[in-house]
Symmetry: C2
Subunit: 368 residues, 2 copies
């Protein structure tokens, strides 16, 4: 993997990330394709809206279809038909958040499948092996996601285990075709976060992620930790803020020097009828859209906004049509792609602060 | 509306149907877009696979979003964003089949909404008015769909009412922008069917449909009635066999001189994981496809077959991903479009019989 910072504007940066299967400009947003598919879209559509890096999940792919099926297919790219970059999260977070965790030991984590209740055990070594064998471009190490709130002692203990696991992950590597990213933990405690950065960056990871945020803490805590950690990560490596977030969150984090993002929000909200627009969020369920024959977002160039009205989108949602999922997802993901394009353009022009202000001014006007 | 028969081969015909919003070659299959959307596909995809005529449903559109919303939007085309031909079924069949029928009188049908239980009344005049006001290219009249089995007396009574309603429908017309098709009923009784044809064709409909088939009767009955009725309908008007059917059914009916078809089968089966292929039906759920890394149908040119394996399609189905609906629907509808293309080509070359035999030989081999 190769990463180059092409331009900075304050702490914000534009970069280019090149992996085994393609390249992407940063700051970038990664659509979530948990099971090897972005819910509601064909790859043609994902690519067509400007994405060349998507996220999948070891925990989910391990359960379905399983390592051997993907390996027999020739790897995750030939199995899924996605030919560009893929990053996999280890699934540690999913084990915690799906409530299937049974035990965390020094060795690893024991959990039950949410599909059939069967028992499984992940070690840091196994996660690296899984990611290498299915051939992802970027693999995340197994970490222990510190919950919020957590005591200082708990967060410290947890962060130290994450560091020991990070070391074991590095030692388990067998190829550089799959880049490996370490994950900074430490809860909301600044000294723990900085200690974690210090130790983690001694290990030869290709990139570094900020984990354990967007887990229920107040926004200001998330921004404070991001502003602390990001600039302390190596300048010449990509920085990834995991599981974040809203357009506002992304703008804050880019300003702090973050390069990569992922979040279920655009895709999940699309399925719930919550749509992101230039003028704020739109709840397409609302009765007021029944006869609103204007486009969802007049400034958007997506297929949905070019061809349909809010009244039609509301009708599809109200009727429970699967097409509602499709058209809403097309819009929300294109909205995020356009946001990232705007961010990169602004950084290139040295106008990130103005872009952020102008974007938020319109966005916070709320409602088209 | 304009219809021309361009070529015949036995009773089979190739024609061209031109309506207010476009044209289509016949024999054609109409994808079902009940609520103003083909479940799982964007219009771009529907058009891209060769369809220029889709079917919607008065009963469903009347309940959601309702006449006034569609009218305010400027009609069904601007409301849905589909710019080609639209045919609407009256919804009489839906009232019967959804079990919401309350009463049939000489005046019309009383039913309850399957959405909220509210009471409604359709007359033949209202259905025509609805179709004209939303601006469909082809509207079907309100008929009474004779169930199977039905006594001779019942079928006769029912057919006669359908004829009286047909006359009222014609009298209710106010524009020729919406073509009107009459519907032949009469159950499985040959003399009733012929009587119905005789009377119905005295009325100036732009096309004629065969209704009341595919309602539970044995295949041979369906074929017998189709072979009897189709050739007795006017040569220079389109003939539409409603709600039919499997690839075999379509081939039989084309041979009898039918021009138009609609059926939920390709779309509904796609959602249930049943896929049509050159070599028969494939149940993508089956465990044997877990590691089958070959395309679904090697002879198909659809997006799904060009890019994905049976193993991936099975994975999406087994994981309950909405993408399973999308990719399966893309394939099944393209399979039907290719079948119709093949049929038209064969008729043009005077080789329909050979085409039918060859198609069925492969198709009945069952399983790729």
């Amino acid at each position: 993997m190769d990463f180059k910072v092409l331009k900075t504007d304050g702490k914000a940066r534009v970069g280019k990330l090149t992996g085994t299967h393609g390249q992407t400009e940063t700051p970038c947003f990664m659509p979530v394709g948990t099971l090897g598919a972005v819910k509601g879209l064909t790859w043609e559509q994902v690519e067509g809206m400007g994405y060349s890096l998507v996220l999948a999940n070891v925990y989910h792919l391990y359960l379905r279809p399983g390592l051997e099926v993907i390996e027999d297919a020739g790897g995750i790219h030939s199995f899924t038909g996605w030919s560009d970059l893929i990053l996999t999260d280890s699934g540690g977070f999913q084990v915690f958040s799906l409530g299937r965790l049974m035990k965390i030991t020094e060795e690893g984590i024991e959990f039950r499948s949410h599909v059939d209740g069967s028992k499984h055990f992940f070690t840091p070594e196994f996660v690296v092996e899984f990611e290498e064998r299915i051939g992802v471009d970027i693999g995340m190490v197994l970490d222990e996601c510190t919950p919020y709130p957590a005591t200082y002692e708990y967060a410290k203990h947890s962060m130290k285990k994450t560091l020991r696991w990070a070391k074991r992950s590095i030692e388990a590597r067998t190829t550089d075709k799959t880049a490996l990213f370490g994950i900074v933990q430490g809860g909301i405690y600044e000294d723990l976060r900085l200690k974690c950065v210090e130790e983690l960056t001694k290990l030869p990871f290709e990139g570094y992620a900020i984990g354990g945020l967007s887990v229920g803490e107040p926004k200001e805590e998330m921004y404070r930790i991001t502003r602390l950690v990001a600039p302390n990560l190596p300048f010449d490596k990509p920085r990834y803020l995991m599981g974040v977030g809203t357009p506002e969150d992304i703008l804050e984090a880019v300003e702090a020097g973050v390069d990569m993002f992922d979040c279920v929000m655009p895709t999940r909200n699309a399925r719930n009828g919550t749509l992101f627009t230039t003028y704020g969020r739109v709840n397409i369920k609302a009765a007021k859209y029944k006869r609103d024959f204007t486009p969802l977002d007049p400034e958007c160039d997506c297929y949905t906004c070019r061809n349909f009205t809010k009244a039609y989108l509301r009708h599809l949602y109200a009727s429970g049509e699967v097409n509602s999922v499709i058209l809403n997802t097309i819009h929300n993901l294109r909205f995020y792609a356009r946001l990232m394009e705007g961010i990169r353009r602004a950084i290139r022009e040295g106008k990130f602060k103005e872009f952020k202000e102008e974007f938020l001014k319109k966005y916070r006007g709320e409602g088209g």
